[in-house]
Symmetry: C2
Subunit: 362 residues, 2 copies
């Protein structure tokens, strides 16, 4: 009677299965989870009852509540997926994250930070969260996560209370790359930076914009460049894509005096700059040296081999995933910091002698 009642009413639950198997709900639970001693005969009975009732196993939603864990880790990405995934560096990081999470069979919940637009992030059931490339101001969500007691890991974010940082030597690495250009004799160096604001507005790299910005990675890389070239000016790109680099490159290269080297904050931007140079009939690296950042393999870079700062993106992602897991286990993992390596390719060369201006108002 009881069993039948539960049987007819919608989808079966553990109680219905237990009733049909002639055991208590607690025993049935044990039979499924495997935790605790259950005789083989009983387990078989329960499993048979489950099959008869077409029961798929304990409801994950109920488990989430009871265990206080949903088995899901959120990954917050700035802006639209379309834009984020266009840059292989993000894909690489995500892959590292997925790698670490998958090993603990944790799900990966993709959250896009739409700023004010959509509903609050953090309304989904998750056990931890990884902030990736979060240049925008997401203080509010972070506060919400903290209130919920949800561990937070941030990749390349400005230091925040209660947020475990996975960092990259953005400033030092860029400075290192800049010094390479300096050693080649370059003095007129232009910058093509990643966005400074969540609005991703492209335009001149101006002091007041820098002052107002909270885009950690962008800022650090600017600082690194200016550690070597204090007066370097430049432009802010509208994103990290070849297209954005092309636009920025056209802008910078049409100025007088024209820079002999450009430090781009991503490989995609660097590629765009190279295209802009080609458009203008400039030869890379003879007329223009170009330095990138990331060191990911990009289809279509040929015939150039980009001089760039290679960062361990997958490892970074894996570290972030591992850190969340550690936090969930109650450990107190140390923040980590990764280093990038300068890989010298074919896009940097000695500065052209000033005796040979290829064009301009002479």
């Amino acid at each position: 009677m009881d069993a039948e009642a539960s049987q007819t009413r919608g989808r079966p639950n553990l109680a219905a299965v237990a009733a049909l198997a002639g055991v208590s709900a607690s025993t049935a639970s044990l039979a499924f989870s495997g935790a605790g001693p259950v005789s083989e005969a009983t387990r078989a009975k329960v499993l048979a009852a489950a099959k008869k009732l077409d029961y798929a196993g304990p409801d994950p939603r109920a488990q989430s509540l009871r265990r206080g864990r949903s088995g899901v880790v959120g990954v917050v990405i700035e802006d639209r997926l379309r834009d984020a995934f266009r840059d292989p560096i993000n894909v690489a990081m995500l892959d590292g994250i997925a790698d670490a999470l998958g090993a603990e069979s944790l799900g990966l919940l993709l959250l896009t930070d739409t700023g004010e637009g959509g509903a609050d992030i953090s309304l989904a059931p998750m056990d931890g969260v990884i902030l990736i490339g979060c240049s925008t101001e997401l203080d509010r969500p972070v506060r919400a996560f903290r209130q919920r007691g949800i561990p937070i890991v941030a990749i390349e974010a400005e230091p925040m209370e209660g947020v475990l940082a996975i960092d990259l030597d953005n400033r030092d690495a860029t400075a290192h790359g800049a010094r390479h250009l300096q050693n080649l004799g370059h003095t007129a160096v232009g910058l093509v930076t990643l966005p400074l604001e969540g609005s991703r507005q492209r335009g001149e790299l101006e002091p007041h914009r820098i002052a107002a910005s909270r885009a950690h990675t962008t800022l650090e890389r600017i600082r690194g460049a200016r550690d070597v070239f204090p007066d370097a000016s430049g432009v802010v790109a509208g994103g990290s894509s070849v297209e954005d680099g092309l636009v920025a490159g056209r802008d910078l290269l049409s100025r007088t005096p024209r820079p002999t080297a450009i430090i781009a904050q991503s490989d995609l931007l660097a590629l765009g700059v190279i295209r802009a140079a080609e458009e203008l009939g400039l030869s890379v690296p003879d007329d223009l040296s170009v330095l990138g950042f990331d060191g990911v393999r990009i289809e279509g870079a040929a015939p150039h081999e980009l001089t760039t700062l290679v960062q361990p993106a997958v490892d970074k992602g894996r570290a972030a995933g591992g850190a969340v897991i550690a936090l969930l286990n109650g450990d107190r993992p140390e923040p980590s910091r990764f280093t990038s390596q300068l890989r010298i390719g074919t896009t940097t060369a000695p500065a052209p002698s000033s005796a040979a201006p290829s064009s301009g108002s002479a």
Copy 2:
């Protein structure tokens, strides 16, 4: 006393907030959800109590259980993220899905089908699921989802009971493209296909492999090609990347007689084939015509403009997302079918006259 007790014991819950505000839990719930009439004064009291207790709002896990909805939709992707996201077509689809889901503020849970390896997919709390590019046999997960009453939408999968299909005219489109080659006078046409099995084994395109395969998209596109060139042979690539296309191209182009045209099942593969041709000193399209599939913008395709079959990837994704939403709303949406368009670029041209063999044993 009661309030204080709840206060000290770990994280605050709705009951604690209600107690502090001097109202019942039900009223507090109403104050947060906005459903039902609550006086402004009461709402303010509750909110004040919440702030004092540092309460972040109702626990999503508990809401999931009670409402029977978690606000999360799973997206199952074949294989590793690294590989999947390398192909822009997947990113485009995902973007469309995210677009549709985001509008209803549904989360997007990324699940990779590791086959037998990891823990069961479907153990995460989700309301619906989208299968994307699921060439492998995931009958078992599908059955589990169905048992749970979770709506299933599949993009380009073989028809399955209880699974809503979002389809593409893979066969007709490929046939259309093949006819274009036929009209150009090509008769020796080679195929470079996507993987046939979950194992992604590359190799010769052999009848027994085709017979054993369940890779819907791959099979349909093969059929389309053979509708026009019944005897076309070819090779199976190990994935959808330029690298895989390069390998496949080298193989096909070193055969005798050498094909004068190659039908690749993705743009990335087509690009790889073009590279292989360049390696061998063949000119595209003069010596070899290449047809792609997808029509996504790929960096580095220059100087060629790929002749390809343009599919509405973002729309497909959006349709899939919309379908899940409709199913969740209890509607009975129709399966949809999208069509691709042949875009003629600069990689196809009339077959070289047989009087001018560029190399070979003459």
